[in-house]
């Protein structure tokens, strides 16, 4: 049952993943989804349906700034850029995730042996 389990784990982490890949530069929606998949070696594949609500929510809260411009390969795209607010949010989320993941690793460490 890897699919549903992975889905549950990913729930709530989309924000962290999006902010992380945008820290390196501006990207548009489809590129963000690809970049997350690439960076995680395919381990994380956020639902495309969850990606856009997350992007728009981050933009509405000032974490991202969006602008339309020509892409390198094709028509105009809506590019997202992380803001200072977004960087602060990323730092906070990353810290929470580190605490959470270390705790989980310690807790379930014995079970994976």
């Amino acid at each position: 049952m890897p699919g549903p389990i992975r889905g549950q784990l990913l729930k709530g982490t989309t924000t962290l993943l999006v902010l992380t890949v945008l820290r390196d530069g501006e990207l548009y929606g489809y590129e963000i989804a690809l970049r997350i998949r690439e960076r995680s070696g395919g381990a994380f594949a956020p639902s495309e349906g969850a990606l856009y609500p997350a992007l728009h929510a981050l933009e509405a809260n000032g974490a991202l700034q969006a602008s339309w411009r020509e892409s390198d390969r094709g028509p105009r795209r809506r590019y997202y850029k992380i803001t200072k607010t977004g960087l602060g949010m990323l730092e906070a989320h990353a810290e929470e995730w580190a605490t959470f993941s270390m705790g989980m690793a310690r807790a379930v460490g014995g079970a994976t042996k």
């Binding site: 548009y28 929606g29 489809y30 639902s47 495309e48 349906g49 969850a50 856009y52 609500p53 997350a54 992007l55 728009h56 929510a57 509405a60 809260n61 000032g62 339309w68 094709g74 028509p75 105009r76 795209r77 809506r78």
Partner: protein, 471 residues
């Protein structure tokens, strides 16, 4: 005359150009405040041309859940269409045919209604709501100023138009009644101010909604009720308690239109933007600013009116004043003829009071102490009666339609004079008045001690004060 006519035409054209210019300016500012994507549209949807386009159907279903401004909806549609195009191309590169790739790409986005609801919820942040509220307040201020300027010129243009119609009718021998004759121009001035304010209230609410919707990413309809309540209450309170000046029934009625104009601005075709106009019209509006004062000067110069003052009235009989309506003159046995009591009045503008005085004069004349003369009299008082308009030909005097005074004040002794204060400026429609000094004689009957005097006083205060004022 030709000079005045040319300028009058220029005045009208300038006014129209100015109004369009102001509207264009508002529209341009509105566009600047808006989030416009700068080009995306639904035309970017791939696969256009198919009999039933599943992508277009998906986007339509998703858009149905977006209660957002049209520009935002267009952005979301364009962004998702781009995403689907990329996704389908990628899937086709992996070997899927077009239809299968499309189905798979749409399936990855999930149910369209659910996606639409989530994106809609994502747009409704508190941050944007607060920014929208702040932007709305700011825009309301700007809209009010622009609306007031435009309203002032619009009302002026209407007045000039009416004057032109009136002039033509006069040439044809038809004379319109002068509805403002008893207000000495105050009614006209107040009406211009109030109507301009109503137009400003309309523009302020409308502009606040358009800006607030744009900044908060909500549809104008969804926030119109809030702004209608704010505008209606705010302008309603201002109209009742804030506008201080000349008041009469039609001014108060016009003032009550101000909050209604604000509410109308919130609901009447609020989804539609203001008409667009180009730079040429803006330039024409600027020119109008130069032309308008010159035109007003020319028109005003050519429309001087000669008004005869009451002091220039022809000779009249004492009976023309109808003073017996008040009381009979005091018998000479109790008020000797050589002892004349004469009144005077002055307006205390700071206190909105008219101070009346009565003094005793000898034959020289010289002011004498009035106290000895009052030994025979009691209950001495000043009575204020409605009077014939002193702007009309004639001496003035008591309006015989009335059988009692509309205000009475006891006369108090101040030095060698009797005095009292009347708040005529706070009496509704006091208009022309005549004040007479009366007292009760030894026989127990009330008599007049002087012939009195009168003037015209206009109501000065707020609409609320007028509504609650004594008649």
């Amino acid at each position: 005359m030709i000079f005045a006519t040319v300028y009058a035409i220029a005045l009208l054209c300038g006014t129209i150009a100015l109004v369009i210019g102001v509207v264009a300016l508002m529209r341009r500012t509105e566009r600047r405040l808006g989030p416009g994507p700068g080009g995306p549209s639904a035309s970017t949807t791939p696969g256009a041309g198919a009999a039933i386009d599943p992508i277009a159907a998906y986007l339509d279903r998703m858009s149905g859940e977006l209660a957002l401004p049209a520009a935002d909806v267009a952005e979301v549609r364009a962004e998702l269409a781009d995403h689907l195009a990329d996704s389908i191309a990628s899937l086709e590169a992996e070997g899927l045919d077009r239809d299968s790739a499309t189905r798979e790409a749409l399936g990855r986005l999930g149910p369209p209604a659910e996606l639409g609801r989530q994106i809609h919820a994502a747009h409704q942040s508190t941050r944007r709501l607060l920014a929208g509220a702040g932007g709305g307040v700011f825009a309301a201020g700007g809209g009010f100023v622009l609306g007031y300027i435009a309203g002032g010129f619009m009302v002026s243009a209407v007045i000039i138009g009416l004057a032109a119609v009136s002039g033509v009718l006069m040439l044809l021998g038809l004379h319109l009644p002068n509805l403002l004759s008893d207000t000495r121009g105050l009614g006209g001035n107040a009406m211009i101010t109030v109507l301009a304010t109503a137009i400003a209230a309309y523009a302020a609410t409308r502009y606040a909604i358009r800006t607030s919707a744009s900044v908060s990413h909500r549809t104008p309809r969804t926030i119109a009720v809030v702004w209608a309540v704010i505008g209606g209450l705010g302008f309603g309170l201002w109209a009742l308690f804030g506008l201080h000046g000349y008041q009469t029934w039609y001014i108060v009625a016009a003032e009550l239109l101000i909050p209604m104009a604000a509410v109308a601005g919130a609901f009447w075709r609020v989804e539609r933007g203001l008409p667009q106009a180009g730079r040429a019209v803006l330039a024409a509006g600027l020119v109008a600013f130069i032309v308008l004062p010159l035109g007003l000067f020319a028109v005003a110069g050519g429309a001087s009116v000669t008004v005869s003052s009451p002091g220039e009235a022809t000779s009249f009989q004492m009976s023309d004043l109808h003073l017996d309506t008040v009381a009979p003159m005091a018998p000479t046995k109790w008020l000797p003829e050589q002892d004349v009591i004469s009144g005077d009045f002055a307006v205390d503008y700071a206190a909105d009071l008219t101070v009346v005085t009565a003094s005793r004069f000898s034959a020289e004349p010289a002011t004498l102490p009035i106290q000895p003369l009052l030994a025979n009299w009691r209950d001495i008082r000043f009575e204020a009666w409605h009077a014939m308009s002193i702007d009309l030909p004639g001496p003035g005097g008591i309006d015989t339609h009335y059988t009692s005074p509309f205000a009475v004040q006891p006369a108090t002794l101040h030095g060698d004079s009797l005095a009292a204060s009347f708040p005529f400026q706070k009496y509704r429609d006091a208009g022309s008045w005549w004040v007479v000094l009366t007292a009760v004689g030894p026989d127990g009957r009330r008599y007049r001690l002087d012939i009195g005097g009168g003037d015209y006083t206009s109501f000065s205060g707020t609409a609320w004060e007028w509504l609650t004022a004594p008649q």
